[in-house]
Amino acid sequence: MEESCGKCTPCREGVRHLYDILTDISGGRGREGDVELLESMSRAIMDGSICGLGQTAPVPLLSTIRYFRDEFDAHIRDKKCPAGVCKELVTYWIVEEKCPGCSLCLRVCPTDSIIGSKKVAHKILTENCIHCGACEDVCKFGAVVHG
C-alpha cells in the first residue's frame, strides 16, 4: 500500500480501501457482503491500474478468498480467528497447572501485564496486554496459550 507510487486512482485509492476493509474484518468489525465488496473492488483496481503493481496487488487477496473462504467467514460471522493471530479476536492466558512461577514471562512483558510472585502461578491482565506473544515465546512449560 505504501509502495503505490500514487499516480493513478485505482491503485492509490482502491488498495487503501481493500486494506481498511481487511483491517475491519481482522478486527472483528467485518460485515456480511464484505467479501463480495472486496472482490468487485479488486477487479476494478486490476483492470484500471496503469502498471503491474496495481494490476496484481489484489491477487493475493483474491486467491486467499478463493481457497480459504471459510476463514473469512469465521472472522466476519463468528468474530473468531481460527489460527489465533488477529489480535482483537485473541486473548492470552496462563494455564495455572502448568505454570511453576518462574517469572520469565513477567520479565519480558513490555506492558507489565503479568502478575505473580516466585513459585506461584502467574496471571495475565488482559486490559493492557498488546498480544505481542513475548510471554508465549519465552515460556518453557507451554503454560502460556492464546486463542
Partner: protein
C-alpha cells in the same frame, strides 16, 4: 497520411494513424467522461475515468481514451458493462476521498470509507 480502419461503438471508421481515441470519439459526438484531461495539458492518463474497452481479436483490455492512440485495427467500446462497472468504482474511490463523506472519521473510518465508496457507487448507478 496513413490511416487505420477501426470501429468505435460499432461505427466503422478510417482514422489517421496515431489519432487519439478521445478526439475521434468527440468528433463522432460520443461523450467519454474525463477528469485529468485538459486541452492546455499534455495527456497524462492518471485519473482513469476515461477508460474504454479495447478489443483486438481475442485480446481485450481497458485503455485510457485520453492517452491511447489508434495504431492498429481495434474495436473500441465506450459504454460496455465492463467500462461502466470500472468507471463507477473509480468515481466511488474519488468520492470516498471527498470531505463531505461524513462517515470517514474515527477508528472505523477506513472501512466505513470503503462502504462510503460502495454507497457512492450505488447512488451513481444512473449517471455515466
Amino acid at each position: 497520411m496513413t490511416t487505420v480502419s477501426v470501429s468505435i461503438d460499432g461505427r466503422q471508421l478510417d482514422v489517421p494513424y496515431d489519432a487519439r481515441v478521445l478526439d475521434i470519439a468527440r468528433e463522432q459526438g460520443i461523450t467519454i467522461p474525463t477528469m485529468c484531461e485538459h486541452e492546455h495539458l499534455k495527456p497524462y492518463g492518471v485519473c482513469r475515468v476515461c477508460l474504454v474497452e479495447m478489443r483486438q481479436g481475442r485480446r481485450k483490455k481497458l485503455v485510457p481514451a485520453c492517452v491511447y492512440t489508434f495504431r492498429e485495427p481495434v474495436e473500441i467500446f465506450t459504454d460496455s458493462e465492463w467500462v461502466r462497472e470500472t468507471r463507477k468504482w473509480i468515481l466511488a474511490f474519488m468520492l470516498a476521498r471527498s470531505p463531505r463523506e461524513k462517515s470517514n472519521s474515527g477508528h472505523g473510518g477506513g472501512a466505513r470509507r470503503g462502504r462510503a465508496a460502495r454507497q457512492a457507487q450505488g447512488n451513481r448507478r444512473g449517471q455515466p
